[in-house]
């Protein structure tokens, strides 16, 4: 069996074969958040989604939101900067736990 086939993205709605009401609620919420201009533009939302797609390493979402970013007017410079934000956040989230390490070192009398 192959994992992460691009054509599977088109079958997303099949997850609603069971507990369809919950899936409908998800899609309704999802579309309300992502598809409309709001306090954030669709372009800004697509860049946020692209960054998260990379952070979570979801190939379906990277596929969908690379296209969505282009179709809302972003360019590769802007898209790359967005994933650098995700990468910097990930690095920061790792490094900030160093404080916890220091706390333990202190508790052990090693610092």
């Amino acid at each position: 069996m192959q994992y992460y086939e691009s054509k599977d993205l088109g079958r997303f709605a099949e997850v609603g074969k069971f507990q369809g009401r919950l899936m409908d609620q998800f899609f309704s919420y999802y579309n309300a958040v992502t598809s409309a201009e709001g306090a954030l533009s669709k372009r800004e939302k697509a860049l946020i989604a692209l960054a998260i797609a990379h952070f979570q390493q979801c190939p379906y979402c990277i596929d969908a939101y690379t296209t969505q970013c282009l179709e809302t007017g972003s360019n590769p410079d802007q898209m790359t900067e967005a994933i650098h934000v995700a990468a910097a956040m990930a690095a920061g989230m790792t490094l900030v736990h160093g404080v916890q390490m220091h706390n333990v070192l202190k508790q052990q009398g090693a610092l």
Partner: protein, 341 residues
Amino acid sequence: MLDLPIHQPASAPPCSQRYDFPTVIERHRMRLPPVSVETLQVNITKLCNQACHHCHVDASPKRTEQMDHRTIDRCLEVLAANPAVKNLDITGGAPELNPHFDHLVTSACKLGKHVMVRHNLTVTFDGNPQTGESKRYLPEFFARNQVEVISSLPYYQEFFTDKQRGKGVFQKSLESMRLLNRQGYGEEGTGLVINLVYNPVGAFLPASQKSLEQDFKRELVSRHGLVFNQLYAITNMPIHRFKDFLERSGNYDDYMTRLINAFNPQAALGVMCRSLVSVGYDGRLYDCDFNQMLEMQITNGTARTIFDFNLKELLSREILFASHCFGCTAGAGSGCGGNTA
């Protein structure tokens, strides 16, 4: 929202049936007859100094097709005899490379027609790739004749522009725009209009025309001190060179599906073929420049060439539609003047 492409089963019918434009129009209970012939769009050469990836004309420095003097004069006769045809839209290739280009422009202006030229900007510097003839006079010539200049600039950055149109095109285009700006093009109050054309650099649909125009204006003025009037966002047509790219890259079905999913009845009502007639270099008539490139000649009981042009007959013709027409009806619509919805 997540883009959910529809994938066809292995036994899917051929493209001509899957992407059947007339059926979709029927399903929406629409009719799209001609409403006018406000614009005569003449494609006067397939010769071009560039060979762009997306070009639906397959224009290049090697092409030799040119509209001859007799056919150009016939176009002028038609313009003179039909006051309802208000606009002359001159395209190519690089139309400036036709030896009768200046004659066509100056004569149409004398007739009081609004003349638009699809000018690729770089021809001013490149000149004629076959004869070496210089075209440096163009900015001043355009201004003197009050020609509306419509120029492709795929993006306000070098990367996308050169990827689509060739190395060095971006910088050369900016220099050419600077010469046009010096003549007064793009400046309020001069009456000299330069509109830019954006089309996506790959297998995706254009962003909102309004937001792209804001981006282009902000970036071109702040980085390069350049101004223009309007931006037209145009969808790439799935024909010829761009279709070849879609097929080679395995994107054709997904692209067609994107176009069909984005079908907009309002955009369909405004399609350009309802208000123009396109003339090929050999004088044959078509519903639009895309039909011209697909050799879908107007045939149904009306004028077939500019030599038997008859406005009344043309208004009663049936426009020929095919799968590429989804390119004009997706999203906010796409025509030679940008969005149609």
